[in-house]
Symmetry: C2
Subunit: 327 residues, 2 copies
């Protein structure tokens, strides 16, 4: 399979975590998709044993190299156009989330997808983190009985961020950018579609970061009746032991499972257990590509990619407008 | 001071935790306020060295004994009437929360309060739990800087509950009954009034408990701009090590403090610390009564009692109607 890559503003490194697990993969060319210096991406490729060419014009790259798969991690505001252009060429898409920053962009991708034979998956890499992966397996195996409520948390260090984070048009917003992981856990663990959302967010006291929301909360009713919420913030202190405090708590009729502090905390019929997870038997990039090559189905479907993106954008709209929105 | 008591359906035992710290306190009479067997309340009084009389007619008790303070813990649906009748007689009220199950009941109490010289406090006993008490002191001392977000959790074992829990009219609902603690932490830690609320709840899979909501989520914007939410459920497994999994996480511009698992988890400038709290220097009942007797101001004000009750009822209304409600 032939891969091209655009940019490394976000999590393009997922590619190189597992690219060697994809037999016969080639990386003939990369682009930065904008004025970004291409050297960091080229260096990451070289460090992993690839010698791609570089093209400033990403569309020309697609036409010249005709890749099977395109990794999209350029400017956030160009994700949607790049997805649509790839899909129009029947090139499979592996895109940083969220794949669209506006509902209009989202509809453009969906329209292109409907006419395409290609697939699209966004980088929901936290599904593959050992704790979340194993907790999800336990939930699927019935560890908590019928799921009633899911509560997720994403708390990041703010640090110093590039200027594009300061503008809604180029950053997209904290609910889509940070919250997408939490919303993905809600979608994935509940195994149900979103029914309604209300949300709140604030840009106040954001340490001079313009439009960037320093905190947000989202609250969802799922079609199955599951209640869910996400707390999202950039308030994790610089001195905290890790960058992120990622959590999900799933409570059901027969137990409660929580991922917190890199461990699984489970309470079932036999009391409380703390479980150190095993290493997952799959990784995001190779999982997607091996499915494309006809292998085992991956963890992330095209349908979920669209549903997650839509949920991020409607949650943000709910927060922007102060209304409850139905899907 | 002369105390009378009505019922022990909820937390009347708070009285006896610290009654001996109130100089000269007398307990001449109790009532169950309904058809409940009065013996458990009489026994609790005797076990604590009091020999109260019993009256079946609680209003007659008020007129006969003219207490300074009335502890109200009878049927939930009579809290409001009992509060109003006590206030009309200028008897101070120490009432199980929520003090009212409907907005109409709430307005009746407020009307009686406005014409009364007496005070009213509800049993927000968890403010006096060592972890919450000390965490609140730390927040007031600036441990997290300017507060941006508060996330609270109440998760209880369901167990087997009396029949009155099965009916909204006699139980009130899970947001007011269980959630009131979480909403009180939000009010108390944020130090701000509620501005708006949206909420969701479900009675499905409630193990045959009629109207009882097995889970609920509430999301608040505070007038100060603080974002807050509460997750509330009865899904804590019977085999869990404790009855409740009570948590609050307060994140601000300079730190994060969390009460969880009976400890305080604090991250500030110097990294993460786990703090075992000291024993508080006050307890709910005596704190209120000593203030009434002219001593140190207590932790809970009349104003907060009304604001908390109002928040519980509006959150429930938001969940019942699927709307966002402004205070």
């Amino acid at each position: 399979m032939k891969l091209c890559m655009i940019g490394k503003r976000g999590h393009a490194y997922y590619v190189f975590e597992s690219i060697r697990e994809v037999p016969g993969i080639e990386l003939p060319c990369v682009s930065s998709g904008c004025g970004d210096d291409p050297e960091p991406l080229l260096k990451m490729a070289r460090d992993n044993g690839f010698q791609p060419e570089f093209r400033a014009d990403w569309k020309a790259m697609l036409d010249e190299f005709r890749p099977d798969v395109l990794c999209i991690d350029g400017p956030f505001e160009l994700h949607a156009e790049m997805c649509a252009e790839a899909l129009k060429r029947n090139i499979n898409v592996f895109c940083e989330k969220p794949i669209a920053l506006t509902l209009e962009q989202f509809e453009n991708i969906r329209a292109a997808y409907e006419k395409s034979s290609a697939r699209i998956v966004s980088m929901v890499g936290l599904r593959y983190e050992p704790t979340f992966y194993q907790a999800h397996k336990m939930v699927c195996a019935g560890a908590v009985g019928k799921i009633k409520t899911v509560r997720a948390q994403k708390s990041y260090r703010l640090g110093t961020r590039p200027d594009f984070y300061k503008h809604r048009a180029t950053y997209g917003g904290t609910i889509p950018w940070v919250g997408s992981h939490a919303l993905d856990w809600i979608l994935w663990f509940s195994g149900s579609d979103f029914e309604s959302v209300s949300a709140i967010q604030t840009t106040e006291d954001n340490f001079g970061n313009g439009d960037l929301e320093i905190a947000a909360h989202c609250q969802f009713r799922m079609k199955s009746g599951v209640l869910a919420s996400a707390g999202i913030d950039y308030l994790r202190p610089a001195a905290a032991p890790t960058h992120g405090d990622d959590r999900v708590r799933v409570a059901g009729t027969e137990g409660v499972i929580e991922v917190r502090g890199g461990k699984i905390h489970y309470i079932g019929k036999n009391g409380e257990q703390v479980i150190a997870p095993e290493t997952p038997d799959r990784r995001l990039f190779s999982d997607c590509l091996l499915e494309l090559a006809g292998g085992r189905p991956g963890l992330v479907s095209d349908d979920e990619t669209f549903k997650l993106t839509h949920a991020c954008l409607l949650a943000q709209k709910a927060a922007d407008t102060g209304t409850t929105i139905f899907f």
